[in-house]
Symmetry: C2
Subunit: 421 residues, 2 copies
Amino acid sequence: MALIVQKFGGSSVGDAEKIKLVAKRVIETHRAGNQVVVVVSAMGDTTDDLLELANNVSDDPEATPRELDMLLTAGERISVALLSMAINSMGEKSRSFSGLQAGIITDSTYGNARIAEVTPDRVQEAIDKGEIAIVAGFQGFDPTSGDITTLGRGGSDTTAVALAAGLNADVCEIYSDVDGVYTADPRSVPRAKKIDSIDIESMLELAAAGAKILYIRAVEFARRHKVDLRVRSSFTDNPGTTIYSSGETMEESIVAGVAVDQSQAKITVVGIPDVPGKAAELFTVVAEAGINIDMIVQNVAVSNTKLSDISFTLLAEDLKKAIQALEAAKDHMGFASLQFDESIGKLSVVGSGMKTHSGVSATLFGALAKAGVNIEMISTSEIRISVITRSDQVIEAARVVHSAFGLDGDTEAVVHAGTGR
Amino acid sequence: MALIVQKFGGSSVGDAEKIKLVAKRVIETHRAGNQVVVVVSAMGDTTDDLLELANNVSDDPEATPRELDMLLTAGERISVALLSMAINSMGEKSRSFSGLQAGIITDSTYGNARIAEVTPDRVQEAIDKGEIAIVAGFQGFDPTSGDITTLGRGGSDTTAVALAAGLNADVCEIYSDVDGVYTADPRSVPRAKKIDSIDIESMLELAAAGAKILYIRAVEFARRHKVDLRVRSSFTDNPGTTIYSSGETMEESIVAGVAVDQSQAKITVVGIPDVPGKAAELFTVVAEAGINIDMIVQNVAVSNTKLSDISFTLLAEDLKKAIQALEAAKDHMGFASLQFDESIGKLSVVGSGMKTHSGVSATLFGALAKAGVNIEMISTSEIRISVITRSDQVIEAARVVHSAFGLDGDTEAVVHAGTGR
C-alpha cells in the first residue's frame, strides 16, 4: 500500500463542481489501494477577494502581516472543509485539518514563514484509520507566538512536500492546470515536449531559471528531504512528469529543458574605484535593501583611470528600491553614475547530463550566433548555462536553442494558463 | 479604567464601510479610557454563502458536523482580521484572536458546543499592553479532539458573555440593529417602549418567552456569572438597555415586558390510561426523541372511563418528530389517539415585581376577557405568567395586555429588522 500526497491548486477547486471532480479523483486513488493525504489551496478567487476587502478597510494591509495571515488562511479552511464534505458525501471517510492541526510548525515570519518542523500525528492517525486526510495548504503555526502564519508564494506546494517528507510518503503529486514539466514553456516554444521524468537538481535549476511550473522553495524542500514529485493535470489522466529525488538512475538527454526569465533587469554601476573591497561594499548595500541579485559581470578596469564598471541583474520589481539604495550610498562609495536596463531576457539550458558531457556551451553559443542573438552576460552552474540577451530576442533564442539540443517534439503542445499559490 | 466587552453581530460588520464604522466606535470607547475587547460575528451573508457551498458539494452537510464547523468558523476569522486591520489603520493597536487563541474551551458537540472553560490569557495580555483585542465569536476549541467547534445559534453573544465573565469585565455590550430591549416587540405592539434597565431574571424569562433580542444561552451565562449586559444599536449613540446581573437594586414597574411566541404547537394525547407512571412514560418518549416541551395540561379523568387527556406544547418544528415518536409507542402506552394544533400563540408577561405584587393575573385575565381572547393553557413562574391563545389572537392580546399594565409609550417605536448569530 502506497502513501500518496496530492496537492490541488486554487483553480482545481475553483467552484463546487470542480471540488466534486477533485473528490472523485482522490477517491479513485484511495480505492486503488493507497493511503491518500490531500493538500488544497483556497478556492479560485478567494484570496483576491479577501485582499480586496483588506484594502477596503485598511490603508496598508501589509503593515499588519499578522492580521493578513489570519485573514488569508480562512480561504484554505473553507476549501478543505468543502472537499472533505464532498468526499464524505460520496461514501468515503474524510477529515479536514488546518495547518496547525496537521502539525505544520513554522518560524514567526508572517506572510512568508519557513517550515521549521512537521509533526503530522493527527494526519497519520486519520490515514491509519482508513480516512482520507485533507490539509489546508499555504498555512502553518508559530508555537512561539501561538499565531497562524502563511508560507508565501507557492506555499501550498511547500505544504504538500513538507507533509510528504514528514509522513515518509511514496510520492507527492502536484496537480494544476498543466499536465507536466515541459522542455520549455509551450506558450513561447510551441514544439516543447512534455518530460516524462527529470532529476530534482535539474528541476531546481529550471525553477530557479524561470520555469513557473513549480515553486523553487517546494522543489528545494523536496530535494533536501528526498521526496519524489509528480506534476499532473487535474483535468486529465495523463501520468504527468515524475521528478526523482531519490537518486533513481535514469538515461537522460544532456539538456533536460530550456527556461526563459523576462522578469529581470540590469543595473550597471559606472566608474567604481578599482580597489579591494569596493565590490563587497556595493553588494552589501544591495543586500541590506533586501534585494537578491542574480548574475554579476565586472569589466576590467581601464588601467590609467583605476575605475571599473560592475553590472548585475535583479528582479525588475526590485529595480527602483536598488537604485534608491545605491544613490543614497553614492558619495560614500565614490562611483560615477548608475545605468539601468529593463529590456533584458535570461535564457537558461539545464540538464544533469551536462556534468559528464562537454560541448554544451559550444552548441548553445553556436545556435545563438547563427540566429544573430547577442550575448550580454553569462553565468553557469554544474548543470546550467544562462545567458542574458535583449528582451525582444529571448523567445526566438529559446526556440532556436530548443531545436539545437534536439528537444523539439513532432507536434505543437496544447497550452493552458497557469495560476496557483 | 473600565474593561468593556463589545459584541457586534453580522449585520454590523456586513461590508467594508460598516467594519470601519465599528472600528471608529471601538476606538472611541478605547480613547475614552477603557480597555476594550471586541467580539464579532461573520460578515453579513458569509454564513449563508458558506452553507450554500456546503449544500452544493454534499448531499447532507449536517452529516459531517465537524467539517461544517471547520467551514463556518472561517467566516469569523475573516471578520476579526478585517476589523483589526481597520483599527490599526486608524492608528490604534489591535490584535485578532480565533476562538482557540482566545481560550474559548468547549465540549465536543460540533455545531452546538457548550463552553466548558474560558482561559483568555492572550486576550488579557493584549489589553494589558493597551491593545484592542478582537475575538472571533461563535467558535471554540475542544481540547479532547483538538478540533474547532461552533456554539450554535446566538453563539457570538455567548462568546462575548463568556469572555466578559472570564476577564471579569465591567459590562458586556451587545450591539445589533435594535437599540435596546422593549416592553414588547415594536413590530407587533407599536406603543412598546424601550426599557432603560431590567434585572437579568426578567430578561431571562423574556428571552425564554420568545423575545428575540438576546439568545437565552447568553443570558443564562450572564446570570450565572453575574455579568452586566447592555443592549445597544451599532448605528446610534443611544445608551440602550442595561441588564443588571449584579444585584443592583432598582425601582421597577411590576411588569417589565410582554413577550409573544408564535413558534409553538400543541399536541393532545387522547384517552391515556389514568394510572400512575403513564405521564412519566409519555414525557420519557418525547425526551428520548430529543424534544423539549414547554407547557403541560392534564385534564381530569372522566371517572367511569379511567382515561384522561394530556396536552403539551413544543416547538412547531419538532411536531413531526414528536408525533412519530408517540405513534411508535402507541400500543405500548395504550392511548387512543393524538391531536395536534399548530395555530396556537403564547403570550407572557414578565417582571420581577410580580414576586411582591399581587393582582397581576387578575389584571391579565381581565384584559384578555374584555378583548374576547380565550385562554387555552396557563403556566406561571415566580416572575412570569404565560397563556396559550389562538395564534390569530395573540398579537391583539399582546397590545391589550401591554396597555392594561400601563406600559404604552407616548409615541410609536421605530422598528428595524433583526438578524444575528
